[in-house]
C-alpha cells in the first residue's frame, strides 16, 4: 500500500520559494520518476515526501492519512541515498538490520529478513564485510537491502546510480526495475538522466524550477511533449527546434523535429546543409549539419552505415506526421 498525494505543497528557504504550489498523486505500486536539470527542485520534493524537510504550506497524504507532521521514521517510507549513506562502522549484516533493530523486532525475525534480503540482492557472501570493502555496485545493493527489509509503503530513490560507472549503471537500472516488478511497491525515483527516466518509469514527472512541466508515461512525453522544455529534455539526441519562416509555414512560432525523424539523402530533400561533424556509433550515425538556414545546427540520426563526411552537402527530409508545433509561449499546438 503506498498511495502518496501532495496537495498544494510549497517549500521556501527563507524568502526564496523553491517549490510553488504543487499538486501530484502517485498511485499505489507505481514507479514514478522525478526528472529535471540539477537545481530543479526534484531532490527537495523527494525530501519533503520523506519528511527530512518541512513543507512550508499544503499537505502530504500517505495512504489517505495526513502525514504532513509525521516524522520521517513513522511515514513507512524507505530511502536510498545518492551516497548510499551506509554506516561505515557496521558490517553489511548490521547495516541491513539497523532499521529492524530500531523497530525493536526480535532477533530471529531480524535474521530471517536480513538473510532474505541478502539472497535477493546476491549479498549473502558479503554479510560480514564492512561497506569500505565493497564495490560501488555492492554498496548500492546494501543500501537497497536496508530499504527493502523494512517492507515500506514506498521506496524513495535519490539519484541512486549517479555514483556508479556507466556499465554498472545499466545493470543496476535493470535490477531496480526487476525489484519493482517483484515487490510491486510504490517507488519514487529522482534522476537528472532522462534515459533512466524513460527506461524505468511508469510515470515521469518533469520538473523545472520547482514547477511540474508535464506528467505522463514515457511514451506520452516522447510523443506529445506539452512544451518546449519537455520536448528538449526528453529524447537523445535532443529535438531540433526551428523558428522563423519555416515554422510559420506550419502555422507555429517554433517547430520541433526529433533527429530520428529526419531522413538524409545525397540528392534530394526538403532542406539542405553541410555536414560539420559526423559521429559514428556503429548502430547509428549522428550528423551535425550546419548552413541549413533553419537553425545553428540540425542534428540528424541516421543508420550506422550511412557514410557522409565533414564538408559533404546533404539533403534532409522531416517526417511530416511527427513535426511538433509550439506557440510563442512555448506551449504545444495540437
Amino acid at each position: 500500500m503506498g498511495r502518496i498525494q501532495l496537495k498544494s505543497v510549497t517549500k521556501s528557504f527563507g524568502d526564496v520559494q523553491v517549490i510553488p504550489p504543487l499538486d501530484l498523486t502517485i498511485q499505489d505500486g507505481e514507479f514514478t520518476v522525478f526528472v529535471g536539470p540539477s537545481g530543479c527542485g526534484k531532490s527537495t520534493l523527494l525530501r519533503l515526501i520523506a519528511g527530512l524537510e518541512d513543507i512550508t504550506s499544503g499537505s502530504i497524504d500517505i495512504d489517505g492519512a495526513d502525514a504532513t507532521d509525521v516524522p520521517p521514521a513513522k511515514r513507512g517510507l524507505a530511502m536510498v541515498f545518492q551516497s548510499y549513506a551506509l554506516y561505515p562502522h557496521m558490517t553489511v549484516r548490521k547495516n541491513i538490520a539497523f532499521p529492524l533493530r530500531m523497530a525493536k523486532l526480535d532477533q530471529a525475525e531480524i535474521d530471517k529478513r536480513v538473510e532474505g534480503a541478502a539472497s535477493v540482492l546476491n549479498l549473502t557472501d558479503y554479510l560480514d564485510r564492512r561497506p569500505g570493502q565493497l564495490s560501488g555496485g555492492q554498496r548500492q545493493r546494501v543500501a537497497i537491502g536496508r530499504a527493502i527489509v523494512r517492507e515500506p509503503a514506498a521506496f524513495l530513490f535519490d539519484e541512486p546510480l549517479s555514483n556508479l560507472d556507466a556499465a554498472l549503471r545499466v545493470g543496476m537500472r535493470l535490477e531496480i526495475s526487476e525489484l519493482h516488478e517483484r515487490l510491486a511497491t510504490t517507488m519514487i525515483y529522482v534522476t537528472h538522466d532522462q534515459v533512466e527516466a524513460m527506461t524505468m518509469a511508469d510515470k515521469i514527472v518533469v520538473l523545472q524550477a520547482g514547477v511540474i512541466e508535464q506528467v505522463g508515461s514515457p511514451l506520452e512525453l516522447y510523443r506529445t511533449p506539452q512544451n518546449l522544455f519537455v520536448a528538449g529534455f526528453i529524447g537523445s539526441p535532443k529535438m531540433n527546434f526551428i523558428e522563423g519562416e519555416e515554422a510559420s509555414k506550419h502555422g507555429a512560432h517554433t517547430i520541433g523535429i526529433r533527429p530520428e525523424h529526419i531522413a538524409v539523402s545525397d540528392s534530394e530533400g526538403t532542406w539542405s546543409g553541410k555536414v560539420s561533424v559526423s559521429e559514428h556509433l556503429g548502430s547509428d550515425t549522428f550528423f551535425h549539419v550546419h548552413e541549413t538556414g533553419l537553425a545553428e545546427t540540425i542534428t540528424v540520426r541516421a543508420d550506422g552505415e550511412v557514410a557522409f563526411r565533414h564538408g559533404d552537402r546533404i539533403h534532409l527530409t522531416p517526417r511530416a506526421d511527427v513535426i511538433h508545433r509550439f506557440d510563442e509561449k512555448g506551449l504545444r499546438i495540437e
Partner: protein, 288 residues
Amino acid sequence: MATQHSRSVARLMMAPAVILLLGWMLVPLTMTLYFSFKKYLPLRGGDLGWVGLDNYIRFVSSSSFWPAVQATLVIVGGVLVITVVLGILLAMLLDQPMWGQGVVRILVIAPFFVMPTVSALVWKNMFMDPVNGLLAHLWRFFGAEPISWLSEASMTSIIMIVSWQWLPFATLILLTAIQSLDSEQLEAAEMDGAPPLKRFYHIILPHLSRAITIVILIQTIFLLSIFAEIFVTTGGAFGTRTLTYLIFQRVLESQNVGLGSAGGVYAIILANIVAIFLMRIVGKNLDA
C-alpha cells in the same frame, strides 16, 4: 536544511554549552568592571566606596605601568620574531626528504608538551644557574665569565625560555602549511628560471602568509598572558614584570582589587583587539 523539529532540538542541544560560556564570560566580567570603579581592599577595610575612573587613571599613571607595558611588548615581540623566523627555517628543513623524518618531528615538537612550570624551572636551574648551570659550564669551557642569566640578562632569558616552548607550535603550523603547497607551483617557477631565493620570496612566503598571521595572532594571545614562566623564575623582578604579572601582584599580592581590576579591563581590551583580527581569519575559513 532541516525540519522545524530538528531545529528546535538543535537549539536545546546547544543550550548547555552556550549558557555555561555566557555565564563564564559575563559573571566575572561584570564583577571585574564593578570592582574597577571601586576602592576595594579586602584586607584593609574592604569596600571603601565608588571612586569613578580613579583606578584606571592610577593604574596607568603608576610608575610600574609603562615598564610593564614595555616588558610585555619586548617579550611578545621577541618571542614572535624568534619563533616565526626560526619556525619558517625549521619547517622548510623538515619538509626536505631525509631519513627519520618522523623521529625528528617528534624531537622538535616535544617542548610544547612540557608543562610551563617545568620548563621554566629546568631552564632556570639546570641551564641558567651561574654556578652549576650547563650554560655556565659552556661559557667557562670557552674561557668566558659565566653570566647570571636571570638577573643580568633577565629579559633575554625569559624570551629564550618562552621561545623554546613556542617554537614547536610555530614550526608545526608552518610545516603543515608548507606541505599543502602544490609542488608543481615550485617546479613551474623553476622552469621559469627563478633561483631558490626568489622561489622562496615569491612563492613559499606568500603561500605561508596566512599561516604566519595565524601563528602571530594565536601566540600573541597566549604570550600576553604568560604567567608561570615569570612566576617561577624571576617573580617579576629584574624588569620582567609584564602587564599580566603586574595585575596579578595588585590583586593577589597587594590585595588592591579595584586597581587590579582596572588593569584587568585594560588587559581584556588589549586581548580583544588581537582577537578581532584572529576571528576575522577563522570566520572566513568557516564559509569555505
